[in-house]
């Protein structure tokens, strides 16, 4: 047995098991539960993007439709129409997701690249429109609600208390992560990578690239459906939002921010995304703007995501030169803080002026001021400009220090 692998999976399981005991508030628990099912969703998305090279703008279709089937199954179970353990409900979601994967996948994987992306968008919009058109099955705007407590508790588990739901999600999450990782090590997984990197060559070694992408999508939609089933249990409601473009966009952003080229990237991205959204949306109405800005900056400056940024530092850690970056990072952080303060000032003031009807006084970070006042505007813009200029210098200083350290390490090695 490979000790490194054992250690890694063991740690993962322990982290999942121990998390609710470290973060004990009920708000934290809801976040952790959401993170768990979103991790599965994001990993399933990366099966398409990171492993298959398929950029999809409509992945929520599979998780959402899986959730709808699961919620109807759960309601039937609640009425006693058939007996099935709630613990295995995500399996129903997964299978439903997979059926739609076969159905829509056949159409969408006929083209690749940019065309595939647009088609996935079209299919997503189509499903969303259909969901609103058939309120009988989909519950219209209000959606379909359910009760996850079904029948008698089994070994004390009724899924009534939130902590039980968390552990259900955690177990499915660990199993799904293991399964999706295992898939990357199979012939299909390897050829999916080959098709991503060089579809022409893959054809010339005997593989039908369309079939490879189709199968990859079907498997991915299974796991998306699993996450939909878990979402159904967690929230006890499924609505059109579950198949919306917003949900599809969200998983894309989360996966990308985490890091598309690395298997564990989406795990990181899912955790951060849920946290970001939950934390920010409480503080400011403009959170989607900040998220969008963060995403765009990542696309330009760090397309490998946070995972790539972290992994970049490992050689330095090994060579014990990480400390050399402390000063550049400190300066960059300071400059960013300045720029950010200015940005927040401007954005919040603009928002306040356009939305709020009751006067122009507003509160920000404990300071009360008039959103119309020239001083407030001047300070914000000054901070922003100063911050950006400082960031320019800090960035070049960082670059200098980085290449100096790289040279040192190479000199050491040779």
């Amino acid at each position: 047995m490979n000790w490194k692998r054992f250690f890694l999976w063991g740690t993962t399981a322990i982290v999942f098991a121990a998390a609710p005991h470290v973060f004990t508030s009920s708000f934290a628990l809801t976040l952790l539960t959401q993170m768990g099912s979103f991790i599965i969703f994001a990993l399933s998305y990366n099966m398409l993007l990171g492993q298959g090279g398929m950029l999809s703008f409509g992945h929520a279709v599979y998780s959402g439709l899986g959730a709808y089937i699961a919620v109807h199954a759960l309601n039937l179970m609640g009425k006693g129409a058939f007996v099935f353990p709630v613990t295995l409900l995500p399996l129903i979601g997964g299978l439903a997701g997979m059926v739609f994967g076969v159905l829509f996948g056949y159409v969408t994987t006929r083209r690749a690249g940019t065309t595939f992306a647009l088609i996935s968008l079209g299919v997503g919009e189509m499903v969303f429109a259909c969901v609103l058109m058939f309120p009988g099955f989909f519950g219209g705007e209000a959606g379909v609600s359910t009760n996850r407590v079904v029948g008698k508790p089994f070994l004390g588990i009724s899924y009534g208390p939130a902590i039980q739901v968390y552990y259900l999600v955690a177990v499915w999450c660990v199993i799904s992560i293991a399964a999706m990782y295992a898939l990357t090590q199979t012939p299909l997984g390897r050829m999916a990578n080959a098709v991503r990197d060089n579809p022409e060559r893959a054809e010339f070694v005997g593989y039908d690239t369309q079939k490879v992408r189709f199968l990859q999508l079907v498997l991915s939609s299974f796991f998306a459906g699993v996450s939909g089933g878990l979402s159904c249990i967690n929230f006890e409601i499924v609505s059109a939002e579950n198949v919306s473009a917003l949900r599809s966009g969200g998983v894309l952003i989360a996966t990308f921010i985490g890091g598309v080229p690395f298997f564990f990237g989406p795990i990181l991205g899912a955790i951060l995304f849920i946290f970001f959204v939950a934390a920010l949306s409480g503080f400011t109405k403009a959170w989607l703007l900040y998220l969008g800005l963060f995403f765009v900056l990542m696309v330009i400056y760090a397309p490998g995501g946070l995972a790539s940024l972290l992994l970049m530092h490992i050689p330095l850690l090994r060579a014990r030169r990480l400390g050399r970056l402390a000063l550049p990072y400190l300066l960059a952080a300071g400059a960013s803080a300045l720029a950010l303060a200015g940005l927040i000032g401007v954005v919040e003031m603009v928002y306040h002026l356009s939305e709020v009807s009751g006067g122009t006084m507003m509160a920000l970070a404990g300071l009360e001021f008039d959103a119309h006042s020239h001083t407030a505007w001047a300070i914000s813009i000054l901070l922003l400009v100063a911050g950006l200029v400082a960031l320019r210098f800090a960035a070049s200083f960082f670059a200098q220090r980085w290449s100096a350290v790289q040279l040192e390490m190479q000199g050491r090695a040779s």
Binding site: T186, P187, G189, R190, A194, N198, F204, V205, G206
Partner: protein, 254 residues
């Protein structure tokens, strides 16, 4: 002796431009057949037609007695024809070993399997390692393809082409851009790995051609103007005119 590959009156036009103008060719099983011709003759296009990259405008292509006209590249590949590319076309983000392994998976019968770990497939591993030995890259097993030297990448290109065990191999300018020593090594490699197979080769390097080829076909402006043994081609008047004539034209236009 049966024909490994036959072309019957193949035409190809891109819009109104005619590139291949009625090519008929017969490559015998087990022979080494070279296709030469001045620049712009249509050699790459011919390869693209044979391997299914482009559809023919008219005509038939027959591989080992079976018609392959209009089939997709992967279908043709599965019937036993494999090709290399003039511009190196490997999987840059994979190691040498992984590159070869990709070429072995389908012929080994694993198809789209997602229930077995590829690291545990011993026959795949064995075949990949055999191929790496033959192309001389066994020591570079775990090196990322993108950082190999140019000659190593060309060797890998050939490796991917033959790893699957195809009986008809198309090589597209395999020694392009190589130094004298590298070319000699490449020729030796090609000779070794195509024993018992049918080799069709497009090349510009006449030394390589006359060293390796059993027969040569000359392609000029989309037509085959001569086919035969190297010695006959060398002394063929039409061939000389085609090559020298084009040189003369360039001199006149300059």
């Amino acid at each position: 002796m049966s024909a490994a590959l036959e072309l019957h009156d193949v035409h190809k036009s891109f819009g109104s431009t005619k590139i291949i103008n009625g090519v008929s060719l017969e490559v015998r099983a087990g022979e080494r057949h070279a296709i030469i011709g001045p620049n712009g003759a249509g050699k790459s296009t011919l390869y693209n037609l044979i391997s299914g990259r482009f559809p023919v405008s008219s005509g038939k292509i027959i591989l080992k007695g079976e018609e392959i006209t209009g089939l997709r590249p992967f279908e043709i590949n599965r019937k036993g024809l494999s090709r290399s590319f003039q511009v190196t076309n490997i999987f840059h983000n994979m190691s040498v070993y992984e590159n070869i392994r990709c070429a072995v998976l389908w012929p080994a019968g694993y198809r789209y399997s997602f229930w077995s770990r590829v690291a545990g497939l011993k026959d795949v591993q064995r075949r990949a390692e055999e191929t790496m030995e033959r192309i001389g890259l066994a020591r570079r097993r775990n090196v990322l393809a993108a950082v190999l030297t140019y000659a190593e990448q060309r060797a890998l290109e050939i490796g991917i082409t033959i790893a699957g065990g195809a009986s008809v191999v198309l090589l597209d300018e395999p020694t392009a851009g190589m130094s004298r020593t590298e070319t000699a090594q490449a020729v030796q490699l090609i000779r070794e790995v195509t024993v018992g197979k049918t080799l069709i080769m497009v090349e510009h390097d006449m030394g390589v051609i006359f060293d390796l080829a059993d027969r040569i076909s000359v392609l000029v402006y989309g037509e085959i103007i001569a086919t035969g043994a190297p010695a006959d081609i060398r002394s063929n008047a039409a061939v000389q005119e085609a090559y020298l004539g084009s040189l003369k034209k360039e001199k006149e236009n300059a």
